[in-house]
Symmetry: C2
Subunit: 470 residues, 2 copies
């Protein structure tokens, strides 16, 4: 349809003109996310009411215009990229509602609320919202819901989906539905709530969410352990978990990550160790004091070179600094970071490390590994320069082999970043033809004209991995 | 199709004749469950392999024969009832696989395994499978998965769905798919695992499940508190939860339940109290000792008449006896028990109690209330005699009003029993036309001929609540 006409029709829906962006510069700033590819939309709309979203979806259906919902654009898999042009729905301005109901132990939020703000406000009432993706101070809850974001606390507390009990959703055809509610238990019909969370904005636009909150743990404590041998660090993880202790976080950094951090901002970490583990316990202070002794014992038993326990909050923060510096440190090495989240069963972590080492050598790529080792969700990151086409070809092959390795070891393409455009070509490898078809049937039955976030999750014929912006 | 021919064709799929039941007496024993209604199937098949299930579904599609999967038939909502005749698939004999993998912290099970056996075997390795529906020593995991069963431990640990990370499923058209896997995190495409769990056997037949296990808590402790005032018991629940303590269980019995138990088997409980609370804490022994002091304090603060803490396991068992005796006690009063599970937001429990009291008086029904008060999942049970048609009419009206009250208070028709045949007529009241239609689209896209468990969840035109067996 004619772009002018589209903008006029949208103008009849959205009363304030400043919430309709049409300038080239504005459109360009909605053309990318934190993954790869640049796709300029025809128009950007900033809705602030459910009714506006519903009307835009009806309009889009009538004229078959693709619609791309978007939060803050921190996606690592291309979730919000407007790959077929059309309308971007920028939901990040819709952050008016953030209610904490301490008695029902829920938060009710609008889609544009920053995730970290939910936890901060819950804490004021002695509660927590556990999911803590590393982007939580920037990303919106709407984006987290679309992608089912994870984070370090996932080990003990689970991921975003585990906290969503109710949604208001605009369907791809522009109808408004409510799923679930304020009750923790609900088995009335199919679980649309958990189907929509993690569907990457392809099944509906979330306009409100009811999130479960938890009592705030009374205390927490952090330990850092250094290992000469990567395999020994894996044994430490298994042994802690099988001893009846469930830490809030168990994060790992490999030698390359440690070296990158020390080169970027020296913290005095030994660069000759093969692995560093950070373990955080939370709960009742007497319980975690006891459990911390046990964790120390286990680390020493399996041969840790050094074990440090933080005795104050400031010391704990200091220990976590190493982990927080990994991402800024590695992008100093080269400008392009390809952050993967292939996940394997816990017992396969040592084997996955071996496979990653082989891939690093085979394709001569700069590969560092860190992440949520306690739940098998590693983050192999390749550092490259996207202007170097020859290097990027090697990176593409390496990434493909990382996916294959994860699946061969009984794992999955994605533990928390989502499929988007990036991993769509590999879906059939994990799910098989029929598995993928069963997903597609749901999409087609809800969005027969393929209006909502088309080009995501489901591979287009002949689609392959591309890690360039062209 | 001709019944003889159907049986012959099934005989070509199932090698052992004794796994195909055709006798009238056998068929009758598969005609009912723990809810209402008697429907005799044409044939009962006891498959023991995925391939057999797949072939039967293909056959059923070819000749448009309804297929009804079934576990031990403990459903309270009619899930396995063969309301349109056809084939019952009895999966309760398929209990060969029960593997505990301590390192990956998962159990891998075939559909006929008794739920309680999973937890027992996990405990041998220092792990637990938390979901504990009261039928867990009788019901199969397949039935629990189909219905997304709950239980008292749901307060702290969640329900069945929260523990399922992978499935093998035969689709309604007889294809075999695998969803999820052995990883705790997985965001590869739509979450078919959580869609199929709780879909009441209408979207697929689960032939294997991978269940997440947890470290076994080191200790547990039980408290009983008696309240002259029902509202005060509700305040105790809120205050405990907002003090940062998350008990494993918080069960409530109202005065009528206490009186029924004392009439059935005297335990020395005072029959003039309005409510009895049972609270179980689990975790580190030092932590729960501390927390138990706090819980006692809270109960006294809000005006409990008496608070008892069990100091030994035997004493704890004694305290739980009252709760366990409720069901056998009430069926002594009259033979027919209508067990509801309408669930409300935690803060609405006092209001729900008020509404239930009004309903009891309005329809002059024997209504007792007990259940999982900590998560708002009450079990209003009406005791009646189904041979008394006049009484059953009043019961039907009372049940309908219970559903209406729950929904008006922001709650749901069903917290853990499912919809089945019983609650189907009320679906639109909770979900609205569009909400129900979005569910139906999924069903139709997966099962275009409506072969798998037809007559469940979705209301038939003009369908109403019927609580008789005729």
């Amino acid at each position: 349809m004619d772009r002018e006409r589209m903008i006029n029709l949208i103008g009849e829906i959205i009363p304030e003109k400043k919430r309709i962006l049409t300038d080239k510069a504005d459109l360009y700033s909605y053309s990318y996310d934190a993954s790869f590819g640049v796709y300029v939309p025809d128009v950007v709309v900033q809705p602030k009411e459910t009714e506006e979203v519903a009307k835009i979806m009806k309009l889009a259906n009538q004229y078959e215009i693709p619609v791309y919902p978007r939060g803050q654009g921190t996606s690592l898999s291309g979730g919000p990229l407007p790959v077929k042009g059309g309308i971007v729905l920028d939901l990040s301005r819709w952050d008016q509602k953030l209610e904490i109901d301490a008695e029902d132990m829920v938060a009710v939020v609008s889609p544009g609320v920053i995730t970290g703000h939910i936890n901060a406000k819950a804490m004021e009432k002695g509660l927590i919202y556990p999911p803590d993706p590393s982007s939580s101070n920037v990303a919106t809850i709407g984006g987290n819901l679309a992608e089912n974001a994870g984070g370090p606390r996932g080990l003990k507390y689970g991921v975003t989906k585990d906290y969503v009990i109710g949604l208001e959703v605009v369907t791809p055809e522009g109808e408004v539905i409510r799923t679930g509610g304020r009750t923790v238990k609900n088995v009335t019909g199919y679980d649309l709530t958990k189907l929509i969370v993690g569907s990457e904005g392809t099944l509906g636009i979330i306009t409100e969410a009811i999130l479960r909150l938890y009592p705030k743990p009374a205390a927490s404590q952090t330990l850092m352990a250094l290992f000469d041998d990567l395999i020994a660090s894996g044994r430490a993880i298994s042994k802690v978990l099988s001893s009846g202790i469930l830490p809030a976080k168990m994060e790992l950094m490999d030698q390359a990550s440690i070296q990158a951090v020390e080169a970027y901002q020296p913290l005095g970490l030994p660069t000759d160790v093969e692995a560093l583990l950070l373990i955080e316990l939370d709960g009742h202070p007497k319980a975690i004091a006891d459990e911390m002794l046990k964790v120390q014992e286990v680390c020493k038993e399996v041969g840790a070179r050094e074990v440090k326990v933080a005795t104050t909050d400031a010391e704990a923060k200091e220990l976590w600094k190493a982990r927080k510096l990994v991402s800024p440190a590695i992008v100093r090495m080269k400008p392009t970071k390809i952050s993967e989240d292939a996940t394997v069963p816990r017992s396969k972590i040592p084997e996955m490390f071996q496979r990653l080492k082989e891939i690093r050598e085979k394709y001569k790529v700069d590969l560092v590994v860190f992440g949520h080792a306690g739940d098998g969700n590693l983050h192999p990151n390749i550092i490259a320069d996207k202007r170097d086409h020859e290097e990027m070809k090697r990176v593409e092959l390496a990434v493909q082999e990382i996916f294959e390795a994860a699946i061969e070891l009984g794992g999955t393409l994605s533990g928390e970043h989502g499929i988007g455009t990036m991993k769509a070509p590999f879906m059939e490898m994990e799910l098989g033809k029929v598995g993928l078809d069963m997903m597609k049937r749901i999409k087609e039955s809800w969005d027969p004209k393929n209006i909502l976030n088309p080009g995501k999750i489901f591979p287009e014929p002949g689609q392959r991995l591309v890690l360039t912006d062209e």
